[in-house]
Amino acid sequence: MSVELFTSSLSHLFHYRPFLVTRIVSAMLNKFKNAFFSVVNNLDATSPDKNNDIGPNGEPKLPLKFPYSRPHFLQLNGEDEIQVAGDHAIRPIIVPRDITKIPWNSGYAEAVNAGKSLRNEDQARIHVGYLERRHSDNGHSAETTEFHTPPSTPEKDSKTQRPRQRIPYVYFALFDGHAGTGAAISAANELHCILHDKLMDVIHHLLPPTDTGECAQNGRNQVLWFPEREISVESFIVGALEATFHEMDNLIAEDRFVYRVTGGCTVVVSLFICGKLFVSNAGDSRAVLCRGRKAFPLSNDFTPETERQRIRKLAALQPELLGGEYTALDFSRRPNRRDIGQRLLYREPHMTGWAYKTVTPEDLKFPVVYGEGKRSRVLATIGVTRGFGDHDLRAPNSNILIKPFLSSQPEVRIVDIEKEAIYETDVLVMGTDGLWDVTSNERVAETVQRSLEQFPIEDSARYRYRFTSAAQDLVMCSRGKLNERSWRTADSKSATIDDISVFVIPLAAYKEEYLRWKLEMESQTVRPETKEADIPVSEPAASLPTVSVASQPARMTEQPANVNGTPAENETALSDPSVDAVNVEKDEGIVVMEEEAVGPPPSEGAVDPLQLPADPEKNESNS
């Protein structure tokens, strides 16, 4: 079968967009090629195609999949400006050229490292898209746009002249690369495309049912006597996010045989969809909700320190991963030769507390997780335990792969923007570790407020720059100034020498946009046969529901303790098996729902497996 024919049939089967099909086909071909070359390489070790190892010896010869660049929305022109922006001596703080191209005038700022690596290894992406089901097909068509905020008025389907059903979404992502720029560049270029497809896959669960009986297929075409779980809209979105992260990591794994994809990267994604904010984090970048001068973390850092337990458990289960050179045991201090035969405090992977052990020569091996805080490392190599890439990363002077200890799985947290009282100054701050290493969550919240106060609403010419200015101030806080030879913060402490990237995203703007969209959607579904003239095409703003956006946050609570930096060690404790989304905090502050599908899938205790299937109507109400 020719590739073209194969492509079109695939396209027909899955209703994928052509470029994705090309990717799937090329991925398939790559797999075949890999299999082929691995055979060939066994025969001929000097084959020119055996250049996929990006080792220290010799330059890699594979082509790049994507050229190095800075985030698209900065609109830097060419290599020249990329170089100026990456001046390690000055470390200019770069902000977008044209902020009208960025949803809700959100802020972004970045600064390059102080010479730690040649390039700025952070990457960022903004994507505005729609999930769209046309009446003329079964809901697998898609449209995406770059930059532009979707028009609030739904367009008409050209064939049926009925309003199209589309769900707008906005995506912000930060990637912090290490050991090369490849993985972060790939993720910045591809992650949102994969996510779009995953969301399109479940669009019928996200849209309200239509009058034509095009409803959630979930339940309709199912065999009657198997009960189906009720799944919330949030769970479909969380599922799409988790599947996307997994697929992205696999894509990088496959790509590295045909392209030069160096290093790895952390990922934090904020997805605004269906009136909610989904923060997915894999790595040590962070998302924090700033309300007034209070900070509410929306992500956990995944580092060897916070994931110590997971990594040690894995090491104990699969000791072959340690190559006989590392130990899963954790001693109160590193034992030396003279300790052999002595009793030393230690803990096994299944322990969090301490006990005594008589030291044996075996115990002198290097611990699988070693070091404290920012200096903690897995296999003496990597300081971050989730993200993409690093498929070829090995422990020093050995052949031991690091990748088995790393995970691409995100922790997803949900903020119900629709239900939550949102204030004008509520912002989501996303930043790579360059920001957070120097500036604490609280300090960040304070800085943002101080920045916003400098832009009164009366000052209409400057007002829309307030989030950009806040982002710039945050980068300035952590970058500091060059004092003789070292970078110092305003209070003369060491500033970061790392790359810094920051988003400052206003939540009130999303809420307003969402409520407007919802109103329009409701007017369509309630009166589906209404003639065009009757559909409120552009209602005056006065008829919109009042958005509770107060300039002064009225109710404020302390940071909820159980959302504040709880390491992922106690993941299981957080998931109530009977519900998909668990309210971790139900206080006057921010309600954060947490979803983490670690371990076995939750058993639906509430549903009797012998009962008749859930009422299809009920399922529809979910979608």
């Binding site: 290599e79 020249d80 400006e81 170089q83 100026v84 922006a85 001046d87 001596a89 000055i90 470390r91 200019p92 703080i93 770069i94 902000v95 050229r97 044209d98 700022a109 400098q454 010419a461 400057r462 720059y465 950009t468 200015s469 710039q472 300035m476 100034k481 060059l482």
Partner: protein, 212 residues
């Protein structure tokens, strides 16, 4: 494009005096009546010829707003030339020159060439600062002075090029250490024995750069 030297410039001055418009007129030869607020820093570049040598000007256009002052200061370092701009129709922008000058002198290298620019010379009817006042300030502080209009392009080329000429002369006199990039001067590919691996070495060097 290959060049013999790269000079780094910085444009400073109060908000709204026309810094970004001067840059746009110089690099793109166009005027934008309503220009967005500059937050932080903007870049521009253009090639000029002095004494038969191709010189690339890399220009950093900074935010004039008081709120961004401390960030702007960190861009002074490593600049070979500065355009200090005021608006001839706004007296306060002229009055603030001393502060700007102190800032520039304190945060830049001592050899930086500073050109004082009175912009908006096309708005003669609204003039608040006499040309003689600008000249006197420049003389007093050892600056080069010029009135420009980013709108009509009057003297814009000259402002940038005269600054470059002054820097070039200082190089000839040996005032600048051209091997120290902190001075805002970089030797271009034309100076290097081989330009094969330089980032901007697209065109082959047509002129030998053997001035030093």
């Amino acid at each position: 494009m290959s060049y013999a030297y790269l000079f780094k410039y910085i444009i400073i001055g109060d908000t709204g005096v026309g810094k970004s418009c001067l840059l746009l007129q110089f690099t793109d030869k166009r005027f934008q009546p309503v220009h967005d607020l500059t937050i932080g820093v903007e870049f521009g570049a253009r090639m000029i010829t002095i004494d038969g040598k191709q010189i690339k000007l890399q220009i950093w256009d900074t935010a004039g707003q008081e709120a961004f002052r401390s960030i702007t200061r960190s861009y002074y370092r490593g600049a070979a030339g500065a355009l200090l701009v005021y608006d001839i129709t706004r007296r306060d922008t002229f009055n603030h020159l001393t502060t700007w000058l102190e800032d520039a002198r304190q945060h830049s290298n001592s050899n930086m060439v500073i050109m004082l620019i009175g912009n908006k010379s096309d708005l003669e009817s609204r003039r608040e600062v006499k040309k003689e006042e600008g000249e006197a300030f420049a003389r007093e502080h050892g600056l080069v002075f010029m009135e420009t209009s980013a709108k009509t392009a009057a003297n814009v080329e000259e402002a940038f090029i005269n600054t470059a000429r002054e820097i070039y002369e200082k190089i000839q006199e040996g005032v600048f250490d051209i091997n120290n990039e902190a001075n805002g001067i970089k030797l271009g590919p034309q100076h290097l024995p081989s330009n094969a691996n330089t980032p901007s070495g697209g065109a082959s060097a047509s002129q030998g750069g053997s001035c030093c």
